[in-house]
Symmetry: C2
Subunit: 729 residues, 2 copies
């Protein structure tokens, strides 16, 4: 049964443990807590994954985000037998995620020594106090039974690439445990607080409270726990912050938490009438975006797997700007600005990277952590046939990231109306990005044009190609944007512009002469120089050529010399620059490239969905929308790349689902600062309603079969195509 | 025992068959005949390999040189048992190659049915009549015995990549067989003539003469055979040519043949006193060069494996210009000019290649056949782990070939004094080559320089690198040469220059601003951008990492991300441009790069030998010289690349041996048109004597321990360093 706000699973299969850790994830921007049982430990991939806190384990090849010790660890034993779901087949089990309130619950009945023992647990990561997590735990049984409860801080947490923490000190007093750690590489402090309320006769041992409870039949025994996780500046007031949370108490803390979520949904909910499945999938996508957004910091981006673990090193990719940022800029401009400011704050890392590869300016990281230095290695895949590290070119050739950031920053400015980011480091960032491209580019005097050679586009199966359409067009726009941004700053912040007294002749020349691949006679834009000459085979054919499962198709793999693509590339470009290509061009390219696209990345489907909607093919659009919106519900994604685990949540797809609803189905776009709406709803959708912040105006847009209603309009010019417009001021 | 002119093997091992086919090779420029026994067939790799005659077999991936049917096929049987060395263990066996006269002999004693039968055979490919081969065959026995002799044309020839011939007609008359064939792909005619003289009561069957001989004990039965191989224009007078040869008769034909060889040696012999081993090895190298040179045609180059078979498709590589041409330009200017004219004749193929890859001008082939189109495929290696074709970049990224040709042409001009090649298409060729480089290059405005990015240098283990030192310096010289050549043509052939009325501003700009990597603080020239940052391991270490024998170390193989090199690259550059780098720079680079060099190519050792001699390290120079000079004597070279057979003769190494003797040990060089001689003979060499044609003067140079004698000097200015000079006019 589908409900609007509850994700649930009402039985238990051991094989779900890995998947459900991501599916039932809690997050509050500061940290994520995987959807694991309270009694689970490292083997079941328990993780309190920290945003923006990274470390290199001894002997490891890469830095990754740190998973904190788990302060909610709790296990109940009967006669020495632990009631552990991963070990004991339950009588019944259900797990629920309330996405409206960000609350995780479980209810499990174990049968042990002839007694049925019921465990109920409810937990949340506080949205009102980001360092705090809380748990309510209750036990009942159908017969008298003696329980031993062990609860405390579990150090045994999941790590993909080695141990990250040294334990500096431990203290236990007043039913409280404090574990002070520091990271292995940089000796950064991480302190964990924990307390339990409602247990008696506690023995404290090894960061655990141990208590024996004589439970009477059909009564309920309940206790609550608080956990506090502190690092960086948060360390200073840790004690105070944690004590305050405990003081407030579980129920009030929960109420405050729910209030924040209510506020979040007020700005970001999208209501679909007539399609419960799509409604839940889209809300679930929005839930993920809101629970991992950096609400209170501009020190970190959003990792490619959200806060579901250390996959992809906890690093931020171009995914943030290209797939997630639109959602934030229209629903939570503060988070959007934080994300952009994070890039401004890490521009020095991008400059170091450019230098490392022989260029100048800012070459933004493929995998960005706290400093902006690239966390990606040059050997990011293991060859499945030889077990040797395989040279990949994600790091040194996927140059479009800097342009993506420039583009996203400008898009933020023009849709929010907030151009202050430009003088808060934004224009400097743009300058450095463009200068990087200028130093990367090849001028071809005999063609009087700049080219971008030896790059990797979004479709990573084709490495080291020339004039990748997506990349060239993105960089061309970045150059144009830079030139426009200079004018904005000149006009509005003349003082800043005076400081910015560099010779910019090159930028105008580059913007004028950078080559942009054009549609051919058929209207098709070649993905890169020579793409049309590659072997003409589709993913289905390649699949039959596989010698091993999980073969990597890129690099020297099966796809690289064929027309098969990993993910949307030209289609992504048509999606990003939707106002610049006609429906005919979009249609021609969609039909041409679709059969060659493997969708081996969760970034792919939404681009196909949006462009399908734009060319009026709502059936295909709906199919790809549902694929995107339900990626973390079904968990049916690639779990391994060669031998590398790549599972987790997919916030870019979550963002892509929202983008599809708003830009695809609602048909929202912005031409010359006019808000255009060209709705093309899926057949079964009766109504689509959502909020948009547009230059400071909080618009509510409701699209039904014949009418578009817009509430909150002040100065915005709106044009609606194909339906009647009702405006409410 | 070493003799000066005889290569011999006095026993038989079955495992030698493949190797000896190359070691005992005969050639006359028009064709090669492998050192196989007369009774051998395709299984023993018999080949009459044709220069400049190519075909694509049905279903094959590449074109290769054609092997003609074998007109010298002869087998003797006793009581139905064939006296076939590959099947019957002999009583004794010896095989000899007389390199002074280009004559192959064998003497084999077989014991069969209690009788010892001795086979003697002598054969040669006529140097005076290139289409003709001849065989003298004699049989004796220590008891009366009845022999069945089968001799004729054997169609069953070795092919690496499929059958190349359709048989159009066969005729037999007057003890003569004629087999008219045409190639499978282009239907080019190939006609084979054969006759036997001295056999009686012949039955002709299936292109064989079959004759029974009652041989009396201790008498000798002898017959002779002639073969004629005709294609292209040669076809027209085939009958006449063949009949004339038969008419002349075996002994007179042999005498004429030997006379040509005598003439050849008069111009090209190098005499070493005090080191028989080196003497034989060097003469053997010179023998190979002279026996495969295109004496009478400018329609073909010299294949990388000479005329020893179809390996590397019978195609010409940069090897010709960089390793062999110096020998010819100083000893046989006509052959040298033919080789250069072949490049002029195939410039249209090079222009087609440039266009295919998106450039303009002439991009000379990695593997050049009769048209100049590139015979190399984009998948030139099979992955040994997956059995899949592996994308290689020999064809599209090894761009230095065009520059090598320009350089070689200019070197030919200035050392022979013959500049006519410039107006015979040479200057146009230079223009097209330079224009190609201009279109390939990347101008970097912020550095105000042109760069050559995404190339493969001579060291093929590192693909797609930037600013390869060898390539950049070669192209820089090519640009300078082009600019100089224009002046020469302007001054000497004003009419031609008027025709050549193109705007050449770009060429001067390119010549001025092309980036050339310079030595660093240590004097080391980085092989390409980023080479110093690769993993610091030597070939010995890589060897221990191999998972399979014959792993290809390039591509995505073991060497590509390490400092290990396949072959001399920077050292090759120091060798080619020997007058531009100091001994200190040469020494620093030799010592730096030597440990990283695998010498996985036979082109490598001679560059190390010459530079070692130049820096005064004659021990190392000698070691690498002997490795080079004896490569085809020992046959100890890589026989397989992945699963691809790459055995055969190594004319580039043969040329490299001569280069080492002349440029390394004799220390010949040309600075500002003065002939410099800085001898540094190996310790055990008492005397080194050789001929050099220098601007039309036939110099004889003799270097002994204290004196340099030069005979034949007219206008040449000579400077000798470190020894006394005696000049004889």
């Amino acid at each position: 049964m589908l409900t609007d706000w509850i994700i649930e699973k009402n039985n238990f299969e051991g094989s779900d443990i890995e998947k459900h850790g991501s599916k039932f994830l809690l997050g509050n921007g500061f940290m994520g807590y995987r959807g694991t049982m309270e009694e689970y430990s490292a083997q079941q991939l328990v993780a309190v994954n920290l945003a923006g806190f990274f470390d290199l384990a001894d002997g490891s090849n890469w830095r990754e985000s740190v998973n904190a010790p788990n302060p909610l660890y709790t296990v109940v034993a009967v006669n020495g037998t632990d009631l552990n779901l991963s070990e004991l087949t339950p009588v019944s089990h259900s797990q629920k995620l309330d996405i409206k309130n960000g609350i995780h619950t479980r209810e499990t009945v174990f049968s042990v020594f002839g007694v049925n023992v019921t465990i109920k647990a409810e937990r949340f990561l506080s949205m009102s106090s980001e360092n705090i997590m809380a748990l309510k735990y209750s036990i009942s049984a159908d017969n008298d039974v003696e329980l031993t409860i062990r609860t405390g801080i579990d150090k045994n947490v999941w790590n993909i690439s080695g141990n990250h923490l040294n334990y500096v000190s431990e203290s236990s007093f007043d039913n409280k445990h404090i574990l002070n750690c520091e990271t292995v590489q940089l000796k950064n402090k991480l302190n964990i607080y924990e307390t339990v309320i409602g247990l008696e006769d506690i023995k404290n041992d090894n960061l655990l409270h141990i208590s024996t409870v004589k439970l009477q039949a059909n009564t309920q025994f309940e206790f609550v726990k608080f956990g506090g996780v502190y690092h960086s500046e948060g360390i200073i007031n840790a004690e105070e912050s944690f004590n305050a949370a405990v003081e407030i108490g579980y129920e009030k803390l929960k109420a405050a938490h729910c209030l924040v979520w209510e506020e979040v949904w007020k700005n970001s909910d999208v209501v679909i009438e007539g399609d419960d499945e799509a409604q839940l999938a889209l809300r679930y996508s929005i839930y993920h975006l809101c629970s991992i957004a950096p609400h209170n910091t501009d020190k970190c981006g959003i990792p490619a797997r959200g806060l579901s673990g250390q996959v992809y090193k906890g690093a931020a990719f171009w995914d943030t700007e290209m797939f997630m940022l639109p959602f934030f800029q229209f629903t939570d401009a503060k988070a959007a600005r934080n994300l952009l400011k994070y890039r401004v704050n890490t521009v020095e890392g991008a400059k170091r990277k450019a230098k490392e590869f022989g260029y100048e300016g800012a070459f933004f990281a493929w995998e960005s952590q706290e400093t902006g230095d690239d966390a990606c290695t040059l050997f990011n895949v293991t060859d499945i046939f030889t077990n040797r590290p395989q040279r990949t070119y994600f790091k040194d050739k996927q140059i479009h990231v800097s342009g993506d950031i420039v583009f996203a920053m400008w898009d933020y400015c023009r849709t929010t109306g907030d151009y202050t980011i430009l003088v808060d480091g934004g224009l400097d960032l743009m300058y450095e990005c463009l200068w990087f491209y200028y130093t990367y580019s090849s001028f071809k005097p005999y063609k009087n044009r700049y080219e971008l050679l030896d790059v990797v586009g979004p479709d990573e199966y084709h490495e080291r190609v020339g004039n990748n359409a997506f990349t060239n067009i993105m960089v061309k726009h970045a150059a144009d944007i830079f030139v426009q941004a200079i004018e904005v700053v000149k006009a509005n912040y003349p003082q800043t512009f005076k400081v910015f007294n560099k010779d910019l002749t090159w930028a105008y020349d580059f913007s004028e002469k950078l080559y942009v691949p054009q549609p051919d006679d058929r209207g098709i834009i070649e993905q890169f120089d020579g793409y049309f000459g590659l072997e003409d085979v589709t993913p289905e054919v390649l699949k039959t050529r596989e010698l091993k499962e999980n073969e990597y198709w890129g690099g020297h793999g099966l796809a690289s010399e064929t027309m098969t693509l990993k993910q949307a590339d030209v289609i992504m470009m048509l999606n990003v620059f939707r106002n610049e290509y006609s429906a005919e061009i979009k249609k021609a390219n969609w039909q041409f490239y679709e059969p060659y696209t493997e969708h081996g990345s969760s970034l792919s489907a939404c681009a196909y969905a949006i462009v399908a909607a734009e060319i009026g093919d709502t059936d295909w659009a709906y199919k790809y929308f549902m694929k995107t919106a339900s990626v973390d519900l079904t968990g049916n994604t690639k779990q391994y790349l060669g031998s590398l685990y790549i599972g987790g949540t997919h916030p870019a797809a979550n963002g892509g689902a929202w983008n599809t609803a708003i830009f695809g189905f609602a048909g929202v776009s912005f031409t010359n600062d006019v808000l255009d709406i060209s709705p093309r709803l899926p057949k079964n959708w009766k109504k689509l309603s959502f909020k948009l912040n547009w230059k400071g105006e909080a618009l509510t847009i409701t699209i039904s079969q014949n009418v578009v209603e817009i509430d909150g309009v002040k100065n915005t010019k709106v044009t609606v195509y194909g339906k009647e417009l009702k405006k409410c001021v």
